[in-house]
Point group: C2
């Protein structure tokens, strides 16, 4: 990780605030498990939520976890097979996931997750009922042991490959939203 490691707090925040899906890993007794999940950052905490019936979330509660987010920015096509790469921005957080029990913090976390879908949405949507809240597990992971990795720019070919007869460069990629669909 050394060469591409970045630890600037604003870089970490910006990546977490742009990416919509996190990958939450936990070491279950029968092996590691990683699942995709929605999430939200509030100050120096990341919140995830899931059904109390979800085994992975239950096992993650109080356990050591690793949460990773990655934004893919482009395919890096080098002249050598070896130097092919990707442009990306990623964050990895290590920590203990703690079940959030305080009602105020739980609402703050759940509202923040809904806000990821569309700003203002948490205030406009029908609020959660007591029963819905009881069926929802909210976990917090503090941004203490956290790092970002960022790769940008073109391929880095060896000097002697620069005349290799193929195009080299970057194919940029970004997540595009389409026209809203009503059902």
């Amino acid at each position: 990780m050394a060469a591409r490691g970045k630890y600037d707090r604003s870089v970490v925040h910006a990546i977490l605030d742009e990416c919509l899906v996190a990958h939450l890993a936990v070491a279950l007794p029968d092996g590691p498990r990683v699942m995709p999940t929605t999430f939200a950052r509030v100050d120096e905490v990341v919140y995830v939520h899931g059904s109390v019936a979800n085994r992975t979330f239950r096992e993650a509660s109080g356990a050591a976890v690793c949460l990773e987010v990655t934004i893919l920015d482009g395919l890096v096509l080098a002249r050598s097979a070896f130097h092919h790469s990707m442009n990306f921005r990623s964050v990895v957080v290590y920590g203990t996931a703690t079940a959030v029990t305080d009602p105020t913090e739980r609402r703050l976390a759940l509202d923040a997750i809904v806000e990821r879908a569309a700003p203002g949405r948490a205030a406009a949507a029908r609020p959660p009922t007591e029963s819905e809240l009881r069926s929802t597990l909210v976990l917090s992971i503090p941004l203490i042991e956290v790092s970002a990795k960022v790769r940008t720019g073109g391929p880095i070919d060896d000097e002697e490959d620069l005349s290799w007869p193929i195009w080299a460069g970057v194919i940029p990629l970004h997540l595009e939203s389409g026209e809203p669909l009503t059902f």
Copy 2:
């Protein structure tokens, strides 16, 4: 996972073949770790590769791993906060990652990973040298214990929320490629 679990082999293959980044989890002695990685599927095997200097890849070799890929297809905005969701297609593979040592299989795997960037690229690029091959760890994970999860369609609101005065629907998302950049 029950309700949205899909185990059709062609669905699993299609998701793996479309998604460009996988999330590889391993249980390290000091806790779980998940890292983003390029990958390729060849028949019923997923290959990942990394530097022999990469601790996570070294620890994954011969270990129980979990590999997850997720394609985000849309934000599902419901009338209730609780029923907000995402449309997505994901695959989770559990298994033991095995270091590939056979030279032919190693080249097959590495070529397949380069081909993900652009079809025909593996044959056109400067092939890997012996030294580059020695510095590259290739791991295989068989598609034996594997499942797919797919969510499509609109929000599923409770009957009594259908008149709640906000728009509900789906904002489609897809990964778009831009104009190739030459450096």
